[in-house]
Every structure is written in C-alpha cells, then in structure tokens.
C-alpha cells in the first residue's frame, strides 16, 4: 500500500467526508453551488445525491450517522460487529451492537473516491486474500487489514452454503485479525419445514455467540421494539413496491439503492423508516399526476437487474438510467420477501412474517427474515429449483413489467458465474432479452465504466430496446 494511504484513518476519512456532505445542502442554493467549487473531486457525487432532493440528502445523513456510530462505538462502550449485506443488522441493534456492512463500505468508497477502493483491494491481496476473491468484501477489508479502521470486535456472516467467497473472506479475516467468528449456514433449499427449523436452530446458536461476545443477554422487549419497527418498514416497502409496478414508475433509479442501502445499514431503526416514508410520499405525489420518477420524465424502458448494481464513481450507473429514460426496476438487492407483497404469492415458502407475540415467535421471525435476504434467499440451491433464482427472477420481472434483464456481479461471484449462462439462456427462452455485464461491480480496473456503458448501449441497440 502506498505510504500516503496509511497516513489517514479510513473510517475517519469517510466519516468526516460524509458528515460534511450531509450538510452541504443546509445552506441556500447559491451557497450550495459555491460549495461545489471548493470540492471539485466530489462535486459530481455530491450533486448526484443532493440533486435527488430530500431523499438523496436523507441517504447522505444515513451514511453520516452510520460512520458516526462506528467511530464512536467504543467510546460509548459498544461492541462492533463486522458483517455482510445479506445479514440483517436488526439483531445487532436489538443487542446494542454497532454493525459494519463490508460490501456497503466498499461500494461507498467506490462511488466517492476517484481511485475507488483499489489500494485497499490490493492490500487485501497482500494480506492473503486471492486476487480472484470478491472485490465487494476485499475493498473495505483491505483497510481493516492495514489497521486503518476502528477495530472490530467480532465477525458474523451467513453465507456458508450460499457464497464461498463471501464466507471465506470473513473466515480469513477472523484468523488474520484474530477475532471471534460465527457464520450462519443455509441449506440448499428454502421454504420446507426442515430448512425453516434449521434456520431457527442456527440463529439461536448465533445469539448465544453474540451474548458471549457482549456479555449481555438478549433483551426480548428490545428485540420486540426493533421488530415492530421492521414491521412498519415492511408495510412502507410494500406500498413502495406496489407503486413501483405502475407505468411509468414513480420511483427514481436512486430510490432503489436507497431501499437496500437503508435496509443493510438501519433495518429496525427509525432512520430507515424516515427514509422509506420520504420515498413513499414522493412516489405518491407522482402517482397522483401520473409522473415518472425519471429526471427526463419519460419512461422508455424498464430494466430489472437480476443480481446487483454497478458501484462506480459518482453514481454514474444510476445517472445513466436517469439520463436515458430507463426505469430501474430494482434488482435482487432491492426487492423484499415479506408475506404481504404480491410477487411472493407465486412463490410458496419464500416469504417471511413478523410475529412479536413471544420470544419464540420473535426468534422464528428474525431467523426467517434473515434467511430471505438477498442472495442467501435464492442463490442457495440450483438456480432452476423451486423458489430459487430463476423462479424469483421471472416472478419479479413479471410483477414489475420489465422489458429486459441485466446481470451484473463481480468475477468473485463464483456462485452466479458458475450458472449465469444457463440462467440467461432460460430467461431468453421466457422472452426476456438479457445482458451479461462483464465488469466488476466494485472494481473499475476490470472494465472501465465507459466500456461498460458502451456495452450496455450496444445491447439496447442490437436488441432494439432503445
């Protein structure tokens, strides 16, 4: 790692920047414009969020708060748990633990820094992670390996059985940093009684582990409060998802990342509820007048991302959708599998409910909710089996009336790169033009955004979509 990179604590660097960014819009529009002149490197990304109005600003505030929590956790006597995007942080909040979602941190760094997370990713390799490992963890973890972050206290993930590279990155980190580690393990099926019971038994073991790490027993009253907040959030998401099916959709592309970034960081917290309320309110206003959420106001095409988005500098990926009148119909990360959502009706056993009536029901609720987060839900078993990737994608594509589908991932996604060609072949047979992006969602050195954009445009042109 370049010596100058070691001069700055990474958490402090990101935290300070996000803190400043979240306040840029506090001034008058003229003052905001003037501020942009003083932050030329960050102008585009700041404009992407601030230009999205109160929702964009609320996202910045959310990230600011996230880093503030990390930076002050130990002062406040809280433990820090490193975790992953497909693990609900709600249990951490119920147990007064500060969570860190590694993939989100890597994505944020990529969106904000001109050199992305390249130096930290490379340091991850120096530390021992293979260069072929997933860049989504390797970026943020590199900063941790270099000792540039607030030390984590323990590690929790839930990807064994679903994603080797994810589970392996966390297992490696536990050994490299000598931290306690617990991983939930998911069977290859979802929805039958046997796997449901396994989820609960494994989750109970996890809570015992976290109790041992914190020295505190799980407070069921507090867990109930968090789950009731989740209940409110789920109801709001159901409303938003419902409006998202309309043509034109009232949601802007940036709202999709807000939906899942909020869930990955603040599920069960009022901050996320507030963000969802803002998204729902703004969407309702547009629905009333039949307006599109796109900046151009004209919805030409509806794209559903069958896996993840592209976290390149300045939010260029989402901006491209906005500027080209393409509606982002969400992806595996943004959609939601609560039992009150229409598309889950076609997929028996894929949804979860929330029941706070007893400790046992709460355990069951949170364990099943966790098992239905992105990737661990539908990439666990063979893609063409019941409730898995193909069925889920077809149900979502139909529900959101997608015109075409796009796969994006990282070369480290062994679990999808091993079968994505088969998946795409089947989707095409079902009548969906489908494009495979060959970039790395977190590392522009694999393929530059410009090249990625050209390939996207070529796909839309060749298939007569735009």
């Amino acid at each position: 790692m370049r010596p100058e990179m070691r001069e700055y604590n990474y958490d402090w660097l990101m935290g300070s920047m996000l803190h400043a960014a979240s306040r840029v819009s506090n001034g008058t529009p003229k003052e905001t414009e003037l501020t942009y002149r003083y932050i030329p490197y960050f102008k585009n990304v700041a404009q992407s969020f601030i230009g999205a109005g109160e929702i964009g600003i609320q996202i910045l505030k959310l990230f600011d708060r996230y880093y503030e929590n990390i930076l002050t956790a130990h002062e406040r006597g809280q433990k820090i748990a490193a975790s992953t995007f497909c693990f609900s942080p709600s249990i951490f909040y119920a147990m007064d633990i500060v969570p860190i979602c590694m993939e989100l941190l890597t994505a944020l760094g990529n969106i904000v820094w001109r050199r992305g997370m390249f130096d930290y990713m490379d340091y991850g390799v120096e530390a021992g992670l293979p260069e072929t490992s997933c860049s989504s963890q390797r970026g943020a973890l590199g900063a941790y390996f270099a000792g540039l972050c607030e030390p984590i206290d323990f590690i929790v993930c839930d990807t064994p059985g679903v994603c080797d590279t994810n589970a392996n990155a966390f297992a490696f980190t536990a050994t490299f940093l000598d931290k306690p580690y617990y991983a939930l393990n998911y069977p290859q099926v979802l929805g039958d009684d046997r796997s449901q019971n396994y989820h609960v038994e494994d989750y109970k073991e996890l809570v015992r582990f976290m109790e041992a790490q914190t020295g505190n027993k799980l407070d069921y009253d507090r867990l109930g409060e968090v789950l009731q907040e989740v209940e409110k959030q789920d109801a709001l998401i159901a409303d938003i998802e419902d409006m998202h099916t309309l043509k034109p959709t009232p949601l802007a592309p940036i709202h999709n990342i807000a939906l899942y970034a909020g869930k990955f960081t603040f599920s069960g917290n009022k901050e996320y509820t507030r963000l969802l309320e803002m998204i729902a309110d703004s969407a309702k206003k547009r629905v009333k007048i039949g307006a599109s959420g796109l900046k151009t106001g004209d919805e030409k095409l509806r794209v559903y991302m069958i896996y993840i988005d592209h976290y390149t500098l300045d939010m260029n990926f989402w901006n491209w959708f906005d500027e080209n009148s393409v509606a982002h119909m969400g992806g595996m990360l943004s959609h939601h599998f609560r039992d009150n959502i229409e598309y889950t009706e076609a997929l028996e056993g894929i949804s979860y409910g929330v029941d706070t009536s007893s400790p046992e029901s709460m355990f069951n609720s949170i364990a099943q909710m966790n098992a239905r987060l992105p990737m661990v839900r539908s990439i666990r078993g063979p893609y063409d089996q019941p409730n898995m990737w193909l069925e889920e994608t077809l149900a979502l594509a139909k529900n959101f009336r997608a015109d075409c589908l796009i796969y994006n991932g990282t070369p480290g996604c062994r679990n999808t790169w091993a079968n994505v060609k088969l998946m795409v072949r089947d989707l095409e047979k079902h009548g969906y033009p489908t494009h495979i992006m060959n970039d790395d969602a977190f590392d522009d050195r694999v393929e530059s955004w410009v090249a990625t954009r050209e390939r996207l445009e070529e796909f839309f042109q060749v298939r007569g979509l735009l």
Partner: protein, 377 residues
Amino acid sequence: MDTFYDAATRVRNKPILKWKEEGRSVVGYTCSYVPAEIFHAADILPIRLRGIETDGMDIGDTYYGPFICSFPKCILQLAGKGMFDFLDGAVITPGCDAMRRLDECWRKAGEDYEGILPSYFYYFDVPHKTEPHGMQWFVKEIRNLIDSVERHFDVRITDEKLKTAIRAYNQGRKLLQTVEDLRSQAEIKVSGTDVFAATVASTVMPRGEFTADLEKWIQSIKQNKPLKNGQKRLMLVGSISDEIDLVELVEKDNHAVVVAENLCFGARYESNQIPENGNPVQALAEHYLGKSVCPRMYGKYKERLGFLKDKIECAGVDGVIMQNIRFCDLHGAENALFERDLEAMGIPCLRIEREYGPLIETGRIKLRINAFLERIS
C-alpha cells in the same frame, strides 16, 4: 502397482470396465463428504469423479462462466464427451460453489448432448458446520440418500450391510495408514508418486480388490531398498488434485520426495477409523462431516493448522508446497494463512497458483519448485 497406476491415471480404467462387464452399477460422486460405504453396501461401485485426460474445454466453458475453477469444468468436459458413459448415477455435493453448480451445468448440458446425464442424478446437501443441528441435518441427508439409492436401484441397504461396508473401508484405511507410517520413516522406501497413485486408486477401485492389492504392495514396499539420500522431504497441500503428474513433477529430478499430503484425494483421514458398532448412519455422519479438514468448514482454521503441523512433525517435512487452482478462494486464502503461520514456525513454504489439468504449466511450476528446493537446501 500397475493396477493402481492404471486406476489413477485413466478415467475408464480396468477395474471399472470389469465391474461393468459383470453387469453391476457404478455411481460417481464429486466430493469427499459422500459416504462411499452406502454404495458399497448396495453392491454398487462408488467412484470419485475426476477431470483427468481432458484435451479441451469447449464443453466446460460453454456452460460454466469464465471465473470458475478448472476442476469441475474438466469433469463436465469429460461428461460431455461421453467419457462417463459407464455411470449409472452421479451424486453432486456443495463442496464449493463451483462444484455444486456442476449439478445445473451437467443437467443443462444433458439437454444438449444426448445420453450424457446418468439416469440417477442426485444432489447431496452437506452443511458447513458440525454443531448438533448441522450434524442432525447431515444424518438426515445420509438417510435420504440411502432411501433414494434403494428406490432407484431396487436394492436394500440394511444397517448390517452398512456395518460390513464400514468394516471393509476401515480395513483399507488402516492399510493406507500403514503406508503413511512407512513413508514417514527416516529411511524412505517409497516415492510420493507411488503413494499418491495408490490413494487416488482407492477412490475408484472396488474396495475388496483395492485392499487386497494394497496389502501385497505394502509387503513389497517393506522389501524395497531406501531411496537416494539427501532428498528434501516435502509436503503437498491445497486445492483438489488427483494428478499423479503433479507429484511426479516435484520428485522428477530426485532432489525431493513427497512424504505427506493434505489433499482432497490424498491420504488424510486414514487414522480415523469409523466405529463398526452402534448406529452406522450416525457413525458415517460423524466421520465424513465431523472429521473433515476441508476449508469449506469455515471457522476451523486452527484445527486444520494443527492437523498440518502434526503431519509435518510426523513425516519430518523440510518444506511445504501449497498449491491452489485459480479461482479456488478457499485454498488460496487458507494457503496464505498457512504460509504466514508455518514460516513463523521456521517451516519453509512455497505458494503456487495453477490450473488443473494435464500439466499445462509444467515449465513454470518446475522452475518455482526448483527455486524452492534451492532455498531450503
């Protein structure tokens, strides 16, 4: 020894073809978590699926994506070329992401290439933990597999038959442990290549035949003269390998001898005998899952390091060669940790990333091995 080499270096080897000529069934499996005893108990020949003898990757690359380990791709390639047409069944396990996707890739290739998919095609779910609920899951998976085999092949797998199969496999394990003890001695009488050929052969030969041949071979090893003095004693660890050529390459110039391995196909569970009394399904589960030293069992690095250290001490190892197949993150990352910890203990290590297959990188790998040998000389 010729039988072992034939079995270890040919997909369609003599013992398998002879078994088929007798009208008996053969089932292939992809991972060390599958209890071969189940098939033995049903008079079915269980064989580990392998990727040797590939001469291209056109089929493997068609169904798998580009960022995938070449081992399962080679298996798919062979399947697509009809090299596994003797199989009556196949069992796929989630050993790793690339291997578990062989299920989908093979099935889909079977839609395009007629007759390449065995009539019995089974997905065997193996958990990643040994806590009580993990073990319980695995026990149920074994029972489901037994039921499925009974139904498809119209056989009956009783507890008694399973116990007999466990005894037969234990006997082979005991003999392989004897070989391990022999190769660990100060005076080495057997090459690592020969030992590896025998252990690989154990995964594809009928157990009774293998055990009988092994017993004879052990007697002949004892009569052997010691190998040349001054050879470095090496250990080979890392990603899955059934390539005799790789061990041969290490030993080629007589500067080194491989005295131990920790490879999926190598000898590593031999000291573990499966209890022959009691509940055989539980015993199989506790052996195959509970005793696993594979990095897919996350969070057990210290146990695996301890296992490695024991082998290093026992076999008087001078240096460790750690290889991982490209895109095998599990072994790639763990090799880095092993290197860090073993080097700190004064044990020289060499880390190599490579492709699986018919030694397409012989020159590069040999160069690095030679440099390593110079370093430890």
